[in-house]
Amino acid sequence: MIVGLLVLVLLQNSTHTNRFVEDSVIKISVPGLNVHAGQSKIIYVQITVKKGYHVQANQLKDEFLIPTTLELNGGDIITIAKQSYPVPKKINLEGTDQYLLVYDGNFKVAIHFNAKETARKGKYVLEAKLHYQACDNKTCFFPKEIIFPIGLTIL
């Protein structure tokens, strides 16, 4: 509900500067971006995992684990070409030969996109979703998603 209101406020009052959204585990920050119709660019989504937590990485060895993924609906404005995730950190599971692939601290997801030739000039706010499953030393939390805006200006 709060996130929904935040997105609404941004839609009405968009300046496309650096915005952030956070929950109890994650803080997301995305700088506003200018692009010409037909041009290719990269959106860098800055994610901060709060101290003491980690989230599962994007590419995991185990199909049952929940990877960190980013979903972005480009609508009539942009086409997503690819997403790049950082190299994960290995956490050894004490007493076993197994390890987890995780992100903690700060990391960036790069979204490579093409602005559509047909995109009209103007300011847009795209809605993005980050899906993740976090743990701390004492608990593994149910998977969550956090919705955040990405401000984009077609020049």
Binding site: Q56, F64, L93, G95, N137, K138, T139, F141, F142
Partner: protein, 184 residues
């Protein structure tokens, strides 16, 4: 002689730490909260029908990495202790049966995997003083309990990823203790 005293002292200190680790939750020593749940195999299991057996209970979800790391050791434990009156059960928290079934097949569990579809049983097993800010059904995930023949909780370890005990050595130690002494 001095050395002997030091060794005995260290053993006593170790045992006291073990004891603290097992008894730092308010549910230790309490009757296990009653439940009746359907298993992946379609049968209904209740804590009451298991009285007279020692029950090892593990709370899990398919996406919990620590739960999957413990899974083969739970199966091994079940096979080792089945003929000693020990019943191993997994309680899966708030997930679809099809997904849980898939994980059950992967690990070849020979013991029942119960479906706590609404998280109500998991909520009952959340010690009130642990993570008071968290939805209660999330607290026991990756936790292991031993319920004695009388239905009392004798061991309860919640996740501690820093000192992760995938091989369930502390649980086995307590289990051996209970088996040796009957139901102390």
């Amino acid at each position: 002689m001095g050395l002997m005293k030091q060794v005995v002292g260290l053993i006593l200190l170790f045992l006291s730490f073990q004891s603290v680790a097992q008894q730092d939750h308010s549910l230790i020593g309490q009757p296990a909260p009653s439940f009746q749940l359907k298993a992946v195999n379609g049968k209904i299991y209740s804590i009451e029908q298991l009285k007279g057996k020692i029950v090892v209970l593990h709370f899990a979800t398919t996406w919990c990495p620590f739960c999957t790391a413990e899974a083969p050791y739970l199966e091994e434990l079940s096979k080792t202790y089945a003929d000693k009156g020990v019943q191993v059960l997994i309680v899966d928290v708030k997930e679809d049966k099809a997904l849980v079934e898939k994980l059950t097949q992967r690990f070849g569990f020979t013991f029942p995997v119960l479906l706590d579809e609404d998280g109500a049983v998991s909520t009952q097993y959340a010690p009130k003083e642990v993570h008071p800010d968290l939805p209660r059904h999330e607290v026991p995930i990756a936790g292991n309990l031993i319920i004695d023949k009388e239905g009392k909780i004798r061991f309860y370890s919640l996740l501690d990823s820093v000192n992760f005990d995938a091989k369930l050595s502390k649980l086995k130690q307590k289990l051996e203790e209970l088996l040796k002494t009957g139901n102390p």
